[in-house]
Symmetry: C2
Subunit: 177 residues, 2 copies
């Protein structure tokens, strides 16, 4: 961050009075610019014991498989974000069941949330950011071709819970690779 | 948002190619500025069946009681944010137990998370943003003087679960007041 979003002046990095963190502060208009983690939200969408994955048409992870997920937008709830992203990436309609996993990734300033969801029908397909979409049985999951560690964490926890007969809530913090 | 944080040029609001939402785009350097919801994270911190509340020394909600909570910072996990905020607002040290509540507040672009936590000792007090801090029994909670609807939702769910003998996970979306 170089310039103030409010007045266009060059910002300086300093700790505001009463604060504990350095912030980008505007010496002209006084605006303090806070940078905060972003939420990435998605679904483990199920259809007849199979899970919906998308093969990414964009970086990072071009060509690799992932759970449908993306950045939460202003003006929506977390569950709405999960449904919207599943619609955009896999042209799929889902019913949200329960929050299943929260993954903090401090080194990239992200928090990932995944909901368990049911596909409303088998009518899905690749959205703009996907090369293809497919339903996978547990033994078909292409583990060495899954794009993100949060997706791997979530899928492993999901199949573990499914074998145990009860779905819980799972939390993890990922260290830098 | 008026000016580009990267180059200082005046931004324009338009839908970038392949996007579905209007964004602040810089016509000079091409930067797309995304605005995303912020996480507010706190604790329901317990000590001998009583709950720690803080009376706010800042707006919004000056003079009203609230669960210790605040904006998640870059570079930390959600649980670390909950511990840090409880330290800053109530000078209290806690052990995190479990994620207890998620409250989406779309009209102010916030998601609130609350963890159940145990105070490690009864050594606490008002931080810079609190007028005072106090432990409350359920029947002492000053319901008409609690600052935020997310705190009220969380406290009500907490006491309901405690009476039932089992703590679950609670999710809600708050409509505009």
């Amino acid at each position: 961050m170089n310039y103030c979003t409010q007045c266009g002046a060059k910002v300086v990095l300093r700790i505001p009075e009463g604060d504990s963190h350095p912030r980008h502060v505007c010496p002209q208009c006084g605006e303090i610019h806070y940078l905060n983690p972003k939420l990435v939200i998605g679904c483990i969408a199920e259809w007849e014991d199979r899970i919906l994955l998308c093969r990414r048409a964009i970086e990072p992870g071009y060509g690799l498989w992932t759970l449908p997920a993306g950045f939460m937008e202003n003006g929506e709830s977390t569950a709405q974000a999960a449904m919207r992203e599943t619609g955009e990436e896999a042209c799929a309609r889902v019913a949200i069941e329960q929050l299943f996993a929260l993954v903090s990734i401090p080194h990239i300033n992200q928090v990932h949330l995944f909901y368990r969801a049911r596909l409303l029908n088998a009518d899905f397909g690749a959205g703009e950011e996907s090369l293809e979409t497919m339903l996978f049985d547990e033994h078909q999951i292409p583990w060495d071709k899954v794009a993100f560690r949060s997706s791997i964490f979530c899928l492993e926890a999901y199949f573990m819970d499914r074998r145990s007969g009860a779905f819980g809530f799972h939390e993890s913090t990922l260290p830098p690779p």
